[in-house]
Amino acid sequence: MLPYVFCIILIGIGLYTVLTKKNLLKIVIGFCLIEYGVNLFIVMVGYRWNGLPPIMLTPDDKTLFVDPIPQALVLTAIVIGLATTAVLLAIVIRVYKRYGTLDLTELKRLKG
């Protein structure tokens, strides 16, 4: 149970960072933390205590195996996370070039 709680705490820290920080890069870091929390949770879901790698030696092998699907899922999730972080950082760089600052409170052209 405890590892799951840590995942939730990690997601919570990430959300707190995104919601309270004023620096754009810190928001990106907070976003990464949320993502890591969820990825860690995916890995935890597939883990079995004392489980072995899922390689069946005989067709009716009854050994306790680790669930392999979440490991495949987490790889996809990490790659998608990489793509989003890359686009997010690209936008942050462009914002810095345009506005000359990374302060979120300076970005206030759109309202209403």
Binding site: I42, V45, L73, A83, T84, I91, G112
Partner: protein
């Protein structure tokens, strides 16, 4: 026929890479390839109409793996309805882009992102696997973030950053919910999960379904811009180039938000009374708040963006009303809104293209200078307001009848009142942009180029005759898919 399903993803994906390789050959390569590709997709989606008649569903198994184990693509009536809408609107947006996107540099990159967004949306519609749904949501979202910031001016970047942070947190929550479902049921296939939740003997499904539903409503609610989660939309949609605004408001929020929400809540988790009431409340709040926030706007596209929030509220109200007429009305309004909101954003783009401004107080009296834009805008505005011969009237009527029949008379009256408010803010646009005396500095305004006019005229014609869709069985079949709920599973696992 079911082998053709994968083409909805393969064709645009392949064309996107082909454009990346070939665009240096000639200036028109990107234009031609995109339009031919989307035209082929539109024809393909129309071909499927007869295949799914009578609540039939086609299944394509990727790599030949049998359903609960492998990824499946499923096409039923609801999917076909959405596919036709998405591909038709994309086709006209692509034709519109030929002239409009000459304002920007690097047009080929624009088309690549456009096609990748289309891949994402088509994928969401046809997929039968929850994790695959998440992957396609991310493909569509990431391309849309890049497209919103395509102009890389101050406003575009600000809007894109805001959109991206909010949208990505929503995506992460969707992923979290999907993994929770996997941890409970040990399956990612939508039909299989629905089957397991129905046949739950331990009684653990109930609390899990409640928690996961909340996560899904938050995640898809952000994507659909339902009111407490709408903050990104009025910034992101006006900042994008006009054809992308029309894609985002016309189809993206519906596919990523409403379609995915409907599919997951109705077909997989099974709708409950509580969730239905939550959706009704959210729908009513978005309908009212969107309309009231649209009234004081002075930016043409921003007002249309708030109008989208309001209309999404109507769609949610219709789908959540819980009876067959309401659901039919909701889906009908979804299709109609996709058509006329893309038309209105294209008109806004044409006005901006010719006059170089979209502030309502700097415009005035250009109806004689731009007759086609004015005519098509009037058609779109009358449709969205709900004037009788146009398509918007019939769908709003069905939603209101559905609400009244399921004893939500108050909400039905509210929907009628908001239709009047809608009329008010569209009259405001009409009066300050098209009617009245010609403002100074607008004497040399010309009508938009041919390709833009063509798209606007075609969409206006669809608005005019769109009401006839009610008599086509595909709409009732699609409503049947939503109404039957988790019986979707029995259909697929037979």
């Amino acid at each position: 026929m079911s082998n053709l399903i994968c083409l909805f993803v393969v064709i645009p994906l392949f064309t996107a890479f082909l454009i990346g390789i070939l665009y240096k050959l000639h200036n028109s390569v990107a234009d031609t390839l995109t339009n031919v590709c989307i035209f082929a997709l539109t024809c393909l989606s129309v071909l499927f109409v007869s295949q799914v008649a009578g609540n039939n569903a086609l299944v394509y198994k990727i790599g030949g793996w049998i359903p609960p184990f492998g990824i499946v693509f499923v096409v039923d009536s609801l999917s076909v309805l959405m596919l036709i809408l998405v591909n038709t609107v994309s086709l006209f947006a692509a034709i519109y882009s030929i002239s409009y996107m000459n304002r920007y540099t690097s047009k080929p990159y624009y088309y690549i992102l456009f096609l990748l967004m289309l891949v994402g949306m088509n994928g969401i519609i046809i997929t039968g696997d929850l994790f695959n749904l998440f992957v396609f949501i991310e493909i569509a979202s990431i391309s849309s973030y890049a497209l919103v910031s395509f102009g890389i001016q101050h406003e575009e970047l600000e809007a894109s950053f805001k959109y991206m942070v909010i949208g990505e947190i929503a995506s992460t929550f969707i992923l979290f919910a999907i993994i929770l479902l996997y941890a409970w049921g040990g399956s990612l296939n939508m039909a299989d999960i629905a089957f397991r939740i129905n046949g739950d003997s331990l009684g653990t499904a109930n609390s899990m379904v409640k928690f996961v539903s909340v996560l899904f409503i938050f995640g898809f609610g952000v994507k659909a811009a339902i009111v407490p989660f709408h903050a990104w939309l009025p910034d992101a949609h006006p900042s994008a180039p006009a054809p992308i605004s029309s894609m985002l408001s016309g189809v993206l929020i519906k596919v990523l938000g409403i379609y995915a929400l409907t599919r997951v809540l109705y077909s997989v988790l099974g709708i409950t009374f509580v969730i239905q009431n939550v959706l009704l409340t959210l729908g009513a709040i978005s309908m009212v708040a969107g309309a009231l926030l649209a009234l004081p706007q002075i930016d043409f596209k921003r007002m249309l963006a708030y109008s989208s929030i309001s209309q999404v509220g109507y769609i949610i109200l219709g789908i959540a009303s819980g009876n067959f007429i309401g659901i039919t009305g909701g889906l009908f309004h979804l299709v109609n809104h996709g058509v006329f909101k893309s038309l209105l954003f294209m008109d806004a783009g044409a006005v901006e293209f010719s006059t170089k401004t979209r502030k309502l107080n700097e415009l005035g009296g250009i109806s004689e200078k731009m007759p086609i834009t004015h005519g098509s805008f009037l058609t779109g505005a009358l449709s969205i307001v709900g004037m009788p011969p146009f398509n918007g009237f019939w769908s709003k009527l069905l939603i209101i009848i559905g609400l009244a029949q399921s004893n939500h008379t108050g909400l039905a009256l509210l929907a009628i009142c908001i239709a009047v408010v809608t009329l008010a803010y569209y009259l405001k646009i009409e009066r300050s942009v098209f009617w009245g005396k010609l403002k100074e500095g607008l004497e040399f305004v010309k009508e938009a180029p041919f390709s833009m006019c063509f798209s606007m005229i075609m969409l206006a014609i669809i608005c005019f005759i769109g009401g006839l869709l009610y008599f086509h069985p595909i709409l009732k079949d699609a409503a049947q898919v939503v109404h039957q709920g988790t019986a979707y599973a029995n259909h697929l696992l037979k």
